[in-house]
């Protein structure tokens, strides 16, 4: 996973990822690896572009709350591909988070 992807998973999953031994991150990572290559390429391009925006906007070290704020902004963006980016990440995190019992 790329920098923004890791930060988003951490922001959305919170302590659940640690408590599950990184199972949520692992599922998101394996989903990215299993994706059709052209879709993964699109996600990578967005992760780099949006990641650069987030770094500039929050001076390099955004907090989890700032990441969530950025995601909320992406979800309202006029371009569909930008709106779909946070939706995809959130879907993967939520499915893994709630499907697997977390101690």
């Amino acid at each position: 996973m790329l920098w923004l992807e890791r930060r988003i998973v951490a922001a959305l999953a919170g302590s659940d990822d640690d408590r599950s031994g990184g199972a949520i991150s692992e599922f998101v990572d394996s989903s990215f690896r299993a994706m059709p290559q052209h879709l993964r390429l699109g996600v990578v391009v967005e992760s780099i572009g949006l990641g650069a925006y987030v770094r500039v906007r929050y001076l390099g070290r955004p907090t989890s709350q700032q990441i969530r704020t950025a995601l909320a902004g992406f979800e309202r963006f006029p371009l569909g591909v930008v709106r779909q980016y946070p939706q995809l990440l959130a879907s993967l995190v939520i499915f893994a988070q709630y499907e697997r019992p977390i101690p």
Partner: protein
């Protein structure tokens, strides 16, 4: 490169491929089935669980048709294909559709009696039954709501066998047709991805494939065959044909049932181990209302679409919530395009304005049924969609289900290599032989001229059996 010889190579082991394999092997043909996915025991994974997604779904379920809106879809990728992961609903091809397709696409020997004969034969192998006793509460909701509104509903039969305790087992291809094919001598080669078909003028001579070995390494093999059946489904079959240089009417015209979901919260816990088998058929075939998998993960996803800020509180009592859907027959269509150098094809789909309108109507009708059945809160799969708790609130869904905010999915993919003698708009003849070839056949959902408005597995199997017999009689 190692060479494997066979009389008939069948690529794919789902509803089309396994029926083809069983019939040809029982007729004495030497058959090799190349399946891209792994071979699991039928009970190896809990249905619709994260483990099943990871193991048996293509791309772990992360596939989408690009468009406005994009539409997520799922395909099986294992021995047995999508029959291993679907809900097992069984519905013969409606007679009026067979007549329409026969007329529009000039399909020979495609009458009701012929299809019914093959369906009957298939049903002797894959047990078709209704739930013994009362339907589960999550399913009865649909009947109760429809009855309160004066609408029709039906408990669909499924490919399930029930023991004396009422425990049901889905009769997937790996439990039914594949054992039959193996008993007749078929060789199943799992983990075998066919990269390209090889051809000599109008004849296909075999295929180049890559087998993933137990240690993860890959072996490239050449499979030589007298005849080849491509049965990889409506996405993979056209992609393979295009990669192999076959392009005439291949890949266009993709059809499926765009689907929108609603999570319905009730005041008491419901069952979540099975998929509801009732369907509201008042508006069929253009609009069908039914129930989805509702494990904790699916409920969470559905709630998160409409109300991410309520996810934590609702999920605490997730057993009170069940996920339902409205699915339409679509006027729009899509395309599968192989991308040079990449294995996965590009899939696109165009929803018409009429499709969006029909889907919104379906969403509202679904809401009416669920409220009439006692749901206290409805969460539609619309970004920040209006949460509805009474009938008056449903009107807001008409405006909310826009291309930008809707979250759609589908499972029934068809029609990318249509069959019929009307060669200007079909990719194969009436029995699946690809145009301009002598020995290359398609025998899967790709052949169906349209998405039928119901689970297409029964139609795929009956047509596959019919086409296999036609091949044997040539």
């Amino acid at each position: 490169m190692r060479t494997i010889d066979t009389e008939v190579l069948i690529i794919g082991s789902g509803a089309g491929g396994s029926v083809t394999a069983a019939r040809l092997a029982e007729a004495g043909r030497s058959v090799l089935v190349a399946e891209e996915g792994p071979w699991y025991e039928p009970d190896a994974h809990v249905p619709f669980s994260l483990d099943e997604f990871t193991a048996r779904y293509r791309h772990q379920g992360a596939c989408a048709a690009l468009g406005n809106p994009g539409i997520a879809f799922a395909e099986g990728r294992c021995v047995g294909g999508s029959t291993e992961i679907n809900s097992g609903l069984y519905h013969r091809l409606p007679g009026y559709l067979a007549a329409e397709w026969r007329s529009v696409y000039s399909i020979a020997d495609f009458d009701d009696a012929t299809l019914a004969r093959y369906a009957s034969e298939i049903e002797q192998t894959i047990t078709i039954s209704n739930v013994p006793g009362a339907a589960p509460p999550s399913s009865a909701v649909l009947h109760r709501g429809a009855t309160a509104l004066g609408w029709r509903s039906v408990e669909f039969a499924r490919v399930f066998a029930y023991d004396t305790n009422g425990r049901g087992t889905k009769q997937t291809m790996s439990r039914t047709m594949i054992p039959r094919a193996i008993a007749a001598g078929t060789v199943i080669q799992p983990d075998c991805a066919v990269l390209k078909l090889e051809r000599n003028a109008r004849r296909v001579t075999g295929a180049v494939a890559q087998i993933t070995l137990g240690d993860g390494s890959k072996e490239t093999v050449r499979i030589r065959a007298d005849d080849v059946f491509v049965c990889g489904g409506a996405i993979q079959s056209p992609a393979l044909l295009q990669r192999s240089g076959f392009r005439r009417n291949i890949g266009g015209g993709l059809k499926f049932h765009p689907t929108v979901k609603v999570a319905a919260r009730f005041t008491e816990p419901y069952d979540h181990d099975d998929v509801p088998m009732h369907r509201v058929t008042e508006f069929a075939p253009y609009l069908t209302i039914g129930g989805s998998a509702s494990r904790r993960g699916q409920v969470a996803l559905a709630i998160a679409d409409a109300a991410p800020d309520r996810l934590e509180s609702v999920i605490e009592q997730w057993e009170d919530t069940v996920v339902y859907y409205a699915a339409i027959r679509s006027q729009g269509s899509g395309r599968v395009t192989a991308i040079p150098g990449l294995r996965a094809p590009l899939v696109t789909y165009h929803m018409t304005d009429a499709d969006m309108s029909r889907l919104a109507r379906g969403l509202v009708h679904l809401g009416e049924v669920l409220l009439a059945a006692g749901a206290v809160e409805l969460f539609p799969s619309i970004t920040e969609g209006p949460i509805v708790s009474d009938r008056a609130g449903l009107g807001a869904w008409w405006d909310a289900l826009t291309r930008a905010r809707s979250k759609l999915m589908t499972v029934h993919l068809t029609s990318t290599i249509r069959m019929g003698e009307a060669s200007e708009r079909t990719g194969a003849d009436s029995f699946g032989r690809v145009w301009e070839t002598e020995n290359l056949y398609v025998n899967d959902a790709s052949l169906l001229p349209d998405a039928p408005g119901v689970n297409p597995q029964a139609a795929i199997m009956a047509i596959a059996a019919r086409n296999a017999d036609a091949y044997l009689q040539r």
